[in-house]
Symmetry: C3
Subunit: 208 residues, 3 copies
Amino acid sequence: MSEQILHAVFLVAITAEAMTAALAAGRRSMDWFGVAMLGSITALGGGSIRDVLLGHYPLTWVAHPEYLVITSGAALATIAIARIVHRLRHAFLLLDAIGLVVFTVIGCNIAMAMDQPLLIVIVAGMITGCLGGVLRDVLCNDVPLLFRSELYASVSVVTGAIYVGGTRYGLPPEAVMLTAMTIGLTLRLLALRYNWNMPTFVYTRDLH
Amino acid sequence: MSEQILHAVFLVAITAEAMTAALAAGRRSMDWFGVAMLGSITALGGGSIRDVLLGHYPLTWVAHPEYLVITSGAALATIAIARIVHRLRHAFLLLDAIGLVVFTVIGCNIAMAMDQPLLIVIVAGMITGCLGGVLRDVLCNDVPLLFRSELYASVSVVTGAIYVGGTRYGLPPEAVMLTAMTIGLTLRLLALRYNWNMPTFVYTRDLH
Amino acid sequence: MSEQILHAVFLVAITAEAMTAALAAGRRSMDWFGVAMLGSITALGGGSIRDVLLGHYPLTWVAHPEYLVITSGAALATIAIARIVHRLRHAFLLLDAIGLVVFTVIGCNIAMAMDQPLLIVIVAGMITGCLGGVLRDVLCNDVPLLFRSELYASVSVVTGAIYVGGTRYGLPPEAVMLTAMTIGLTLRLLALRYNWNMPTFVYTRDLH
């Protein structure tokens, strides 16, 4: 049952990711095709990078092409309802935060099913949760936001570490998953609310 | 026999792609090595991404290293004959359009041989036809042109859809292939001639 | 025994790569997480791209997660000792040059073990030696330095060609490896000292 809920939340999360990516596409004046593609790449790219790096075939969207329909459709719908999406931006930040922890847990599950070592399981969760946004930023010609702000990746690592650690210690998987996701989500929302950031490293001299 | 013609056109197309990519490298003042590399990545990158995403090994240029010689050589030759390439730019736009539909059909063929679902076959064609140019633009530090102009990707999707659809309906493969490529090519040339573009999505507000 | 020395130098080289990448992250004001990630991607990214393109699983850092600890740790340590790293920048250029030839030889070894054709072995060495830096530059939103300067990739190709050529001719592998690395290293240091560059291709007209 928890598997089904996770899947339902996953579908909501890729929809939300595709819709916020569509706004980023709009900021770069992309055409409709670019909007659909950037939405799909952002929503499904993190999981794709994870699968390619782990050699885990077929990729999620190859096995389930309907996900491409969902993400492209959501991105294109955003063109019509950009004003509403803008008004609901706080709800979208919440959906994005939920997506982050859900993607993380799903990524960890896949690496665990492959019997990867503990650190790789956490990294797989982080790649799944975060790298879609990095692809979006690279394709929009920005320095990835992930590398600069808001505990985003840290939330993913904390969520993954609690989930993996708890599972290894033999605690009941569903309870551990819920706890990890709740802590991760809370941390992310607090970071957004109070504008928490990691310390940055500012270096101004050239190497040569 | 049609297989051989397709292969010959493929060789012409990767040569043309490498040569136009060399001009893009020249606009960024890359050195000779960068020119050869950007030419090869542009010409062979779409197929490489397709193969990596589908887990289809070995990659085309790993099985046929001579393709790397062709693309690097064509890119380097462009340095000497940039003036001629510039004068023949309309011919190159035609070659590029031919390459687009040929790459698309080849990509569809590979995905069909792997028994991928219909949507994935079309996507594989589109990735093969279009993503080399996206890699070129990312490496040149531009927002990918693909996401912003000229029905390029749409032509690939239309070509792939006709080809795959016709093949599924049991029509003779060669006739379907020729029809799909002719329609795709015509559409692309009309888009270039009359400056057709997809509508763009312009969004100027920040999400936060 | 030579295997062990190569491995030890590899560890020094990924440490040095991660540390210079950390300075690049600092120039973009990334946060601590971004510093660790950019350091790891730069140090291990070339080998990862090689493995993904060749279908060589598991990837190095997946089989040896401790490498991620080394590269992240080295990048983070750089935040504290940026001043020292700056003062030792000439030593780091030397370490980077050593890393280039060592990565190249390791990449060639992996492709040779897979019985790849000669050209692919050289390309695998070049990808291993050079593409980590390309990923770093793309993520920092720069046109890759590799495409523009200092015989970097050429050194890798020369090193790989000597190594592969000598090995094919049946010369003793260890002697060939040392010779190839010495010549490559010398070439790279001379290029840095005398500011040797490949000729660039400057093209200023638009294609359209």
